[in-house]
Amino acid sequence: MNNIFLILLVLLPLLSAVLGFLLGARIPSAPKWLSVASSIGVFAIALFLGNATTAAISFNIPWLEMGKVKIDAGILYTPLASMMALVVAIVRLAVNVLSLRYMREDAAQPRYWAGISLFSCAMLGLTLANNIVTLFAFWEMVGFGSYLLIGHYGTAKAGLAANKAFIVNRVGDVLFLLGIAFVLCLCGSGDLAAIAGNFGKLGAFGALAAALIFCGVVAKSAQLPLHLWLPDAMEGPTPVSALIHAATMVAAGVYLLCRLDFLFTPILPLIAWVGVITALFSALCAFGQNDIKRVLAYSTISQLGFMVAGFGLGSPSAAFFHLTTHAFFKALLFLAAGAIIDACHHEQDSTKMGGLWKKLPFTFVIFLIGSLALAGFPMTAGFFSKDTILAAAQNHNIVIFALLIFTSLLTALYMGRLIGLVFFGKPRGEGAAHAREGNWAYHAPLMFLAIGALAGGSAAFYPKFASGILAALPHAAENHLLLFWGIFVTLCAAGMAFIYSRSGNAGENEPLKKLGVFYKDLQAGFYFDRIWNSTGEFFVSSVSRGLAFFDDVIFRGFLIQGFGHGMSLAGAVAKISFRKLLTYTLYWIVAGAVILMLFTSRR
């Protein structure tokens, strides 16, 4: 029975996606309600399974067999998977409800809803897959769902952002695929349980295979240097950013790390450092952004860095715990940002906002809750999860600990800056001056997620099957140093908010401009984009045009045409048209062969 429910978990969104794409043109509202219905169904099933399951569930269906490759599609439902499925279900439900209002004026709603369903199907498939190959298939589909939704508005800029997301992920994915080739050829099977058993067979290649698979994680979870697609992905509708680019898809990389944790043992230090550098780097970049969504995007990258670092420090459950709480509070922040953007008539620039706490009191409180959780204010969900990572660092590597502690201070500061700009001071733009609070479609999902952001730190919050992961974690409240640190950074953030609440400090008079060139680097995200673009430009214009020239002029022009003209010339001398000659030759190659054969057969 539970098996059927597990299959439904993937099948419901798939059905709603397929039907949505097919019916969307005829019945424009069908995809919307299909998506909402399937998200409610998925949420109910995920919740039910989380409570009803006591032992891991695993089953297989034969899928593809060729030579030594045998791939079974199947499901492996572990506490980790149950928690991830629940996170996906919760965030998707919230996003779906909020989208009912947010997307009300969109002309291409059917595509939007069907896209959300497709994405959810892929994401749940990835969560439950028991084979590294089927997992990879869903992994790529997740990327495709993200591509569709980033480009949803169809502007040239959104299209470029979507392309960038897909291509950067493709780069990671092909390396991932190479890693899978190692695993399949050496372990003999792609089944996750079998890999765990035969892992030793990888031998010296173990580290290489793990590093290759980690490349896939680096792209999907937006770690340095493949992070550059995520800030651009903010071109998509804001609810999509909440679902895909904050809570679920980008977390898939971290989930993969945790699900295959045994595989990565040889390269843990590498993983830890990638995470730490990413966390610090993008926390810095967040200061350079004025677009509210881009601040949150860099913040997401930074928090993903925290998770990856936590994993690298040998604590997968800490990483996964942070993934879970982050999903709640970051989705909350993004959805609240969506509510703000909508209230300000699609104004995203925080320097053109200001004074919104009076006009949007509910959203302000919600945003504050999300920010506190993100900053790690004691007793919020983010406090517990972030501090398990910090505690792991403290026990492990003091340099990493110092960097992460510093990053957590930066986190609080940039959120303080953002809150100061958005909510305090005087309105600096038309949109902010006439902002109006939304309705239940905004309030309900925000409150729903706010509960998660506040209470998500307690194991009691989660269904029985999953809560075991969290119960085993060290409880951060016992660590007084981190407790005080949490309060201290929040106070610093309040100071930052105060500085930016003075309207004179927005936009042109940005205090950070005193940093000079460094501030410009922060704004530009330190040249990664420029390197990416010029590499692309080099291949597209120089290499490919050069080759096309070679192809057209040298190869075709001189060699082939030259040969042809030479033959024509010879033909003209011999008074035979070359074209006719060719025609005849084609005739005779068939007829001649037949005649020849008939002739020889009379031997």
Partner: protein, 503 residues
């Protein structure tokens, strides 16, 4: 007697008819008076392509191969038996998918032609006649168990292609005809010489693959003979399939041919060389493969990179598709080179997915050209708003070529990657890089055509007939991705027997 086997034999007539009927219809339209052709061309053409597709589906559903791997076997003497060539038709796990996609593309091309057909087009009969003969030739080439007849059918398909190019081709058709002539003649002659040499070396007095296999199972060819045979056929087929540096004629042929014919060539007939090598020569001539293995691998890598980057530079959508199609030959030939069951299987599966996707994209390019006068991508824009159905199918087609997992191309690429990794691991990174390059030019094309503001001149969306053709082509690609075992199960058995030939 097993009723299944019985039904196989009794359906042999259907296979014969599936090849004969389009051919007969094509000949009828070619020689019938113009008034008849004008009146009946659409009906005869569409009915024959539909019949071929229906036959392919029925044959596929009733496919239960006998011990030699073939089903629906029939042998007819057409006067060449003196040299050992008999018209022997039959399908095995490798030729059935080829036969199926050929019939499918033929049917889609038929509908596409039907959709643009006008009352007063006096050359209508002639065009249908060429199309049907290309279809019949391709169907025969894949259904033929006899090597000589397979080659003959392939040539029979190329002749009307040549005439279709001459009479209905684009503005640069003259140059293309010259190139096609040179390359096709060279490739065909090499292939033919290889076939004759192979059969003569066997000394069994037959071209029938079944009999040749039986013969070789008692004792293989000496290594030097294998080397000679393999290289004759390999280079012939490399030219016919358009491996770098012999690709120029294929890309230009696909852009200059009328769309319906280009779909058949680019989606199915172009793969004949590869299919032929795998079906007939990979088993008995393995040692021939070994000799120049590194050299061919180098050509394949050059094929992937040089043509991939050339594809990136294309501004015309049809040209882009043509380059993408030829670029994929690199991965396919590397799969052949790797010589593992996985890579062979991946190659067959990728041919199915790639062929159908190429045919779809060529058709959509034709739809663009029909509406705008050219398929230059700068003239197209904002299709998602102005022509959502066209945009949706463009995206499906491109994503299939990019080998997204919900298309069967993914399983093909995946198996090729695994297969090459197992035996020639240095080739694997090239295939992976090819996947990235494909994504880059595919997505750039989608961006140029689908995103942004619609151009002022309105582009009409796909008509019902065009939409139907597009569904015909893309639906199997998706279904096979969900149920890959339909194709991989029988293939696995067959490929094991091919590989074990030399073990």
């Amino acid at each position: 007697m097993n009723p299944l086997i019985h039904s196989n034999i009794s359906l042999a007539w259907l296979l014969e008819l599936a090849v004969a009927l389009p051919f007969a219809a094509g000949l009828t339209l070619l020689f019938a008076p113009q008034s008849f052709a004008k009146r009946w061309a659409d009906f005869l053409g569409l009915a024959s392509t539909l019949f071929a597709l229906a036959a392919a589906v029925i044959l596929g559903l009733n496919f239960h191969p006998s011990a030699n791997g073939y089903a629906f076997l029939s042998t007819t003497n057409l006067g060449l038996e003196g040299i050992g060539a008999r018209l022997q038709l039959g399908l095995n796990a490798l030729s059935l998918p080829m036969f199926f996609i050929t019939a499918l593309i033929g049917c889609a091309a038929g509908f596409y032609t039907y959709g643009r057909s006008t009352e007063d087009d006096h050359r209508k009969g002639l065009f249908w006649s060429f199309l049907l003969m290309i279809l019949a030739g391709a169907l025969g080439a894949f259904a033929s168990v006899d090597l000589f007849y397979a080659f003959l059918f392939h040539e029979i398909a190329l002749l009307p292609t040549f005439f279709a190019l001459m009479l209905f081709g684009g503005v640069n058709r003259k140059q293309t005809m010259i190139e096609m002539g040179i390359f096709v003649i060279a490739g065909s002659l090499l292939t033919l010489a290889g076939i004759i040499n192979f059969a003569a070396l066997a000394g069994a007095g037959t071209f029938s693959l079944i009999e040749l296999r039986e013969h070789f199972s008692r004792g293989g060819l000496p290594a030097s003979a294998q080397f000679f045979s393999w290289n004759l056929v390999f280079w012939g087929c490399a030219i016919l399939s358009g491996l770098w540096p012999f690709y120029g004629w294929v890309t230009r042929l696909l852009t200059q041919l009328p769309t319906a014919a280009a779909m058949l060539i680019g989606g199915s007939l172009k793969f004949f060389g590869l299919y032929f090598l795998l079906q007939a020569f990979a088993g008995p001539c393995l040692q021939g493969l070994g000799g120049l293995r590194n050299a061919t691998a180098l050509l394949c890598v050059a094929n992937i990179f040089l043509l991939g980057f050339s594809a990136l530079a294309q501004t015309d959508f049809k040209k882009l598709v043509a380059y993408a199609a030829v670029m994929h030959m690199g991965a396919l030939f590397l799969a052949l080179n790797a010589y593992t069951v996985e890579s062979f299987g991946g190659m067959a599966i990728l041919i199915v997915g790639g062929g159908l996707a190429t045919a779809l994209l060529l058709m959509l390019g034709g739809c663009l050209k029909r509406r705008l006068g050219s398929a230059e991508m700068v003239h197209v824009g904002g299709l998602r708003q102005s022509a959502p159905r066209l945009a949706a199918f463009l995206m499906l087609g491109v994503m299939a070529v990019v080998a997204l997992p919900c298309f069967v191309n993914f399983w093909g690429e995946f198996l090729i990657i695994l297969g090459t990794f197992r035996s020639t691991p240095l080739a694997t990174p090239a295939i992976l890089a090819g996947l990235v390059i494909t994504a880059v030019f595919g997505l750039r094309a989608l961006h140029a055509m689908l995103m942004g503001n619609p151009k002022p001149e309105a582009i009409a969306d796909l008509t019902a007939v065009e939409k139907f053709s597009a569904w015909l082509l893309i639906l199997p690609v998706i279904l096979l991705a969900i149920f890959p075992n339909i194709i991989s199960g029988p293939l696995n058995t067959l490929l094991h027997s091919i590989i074990s030939f030399n073990l």
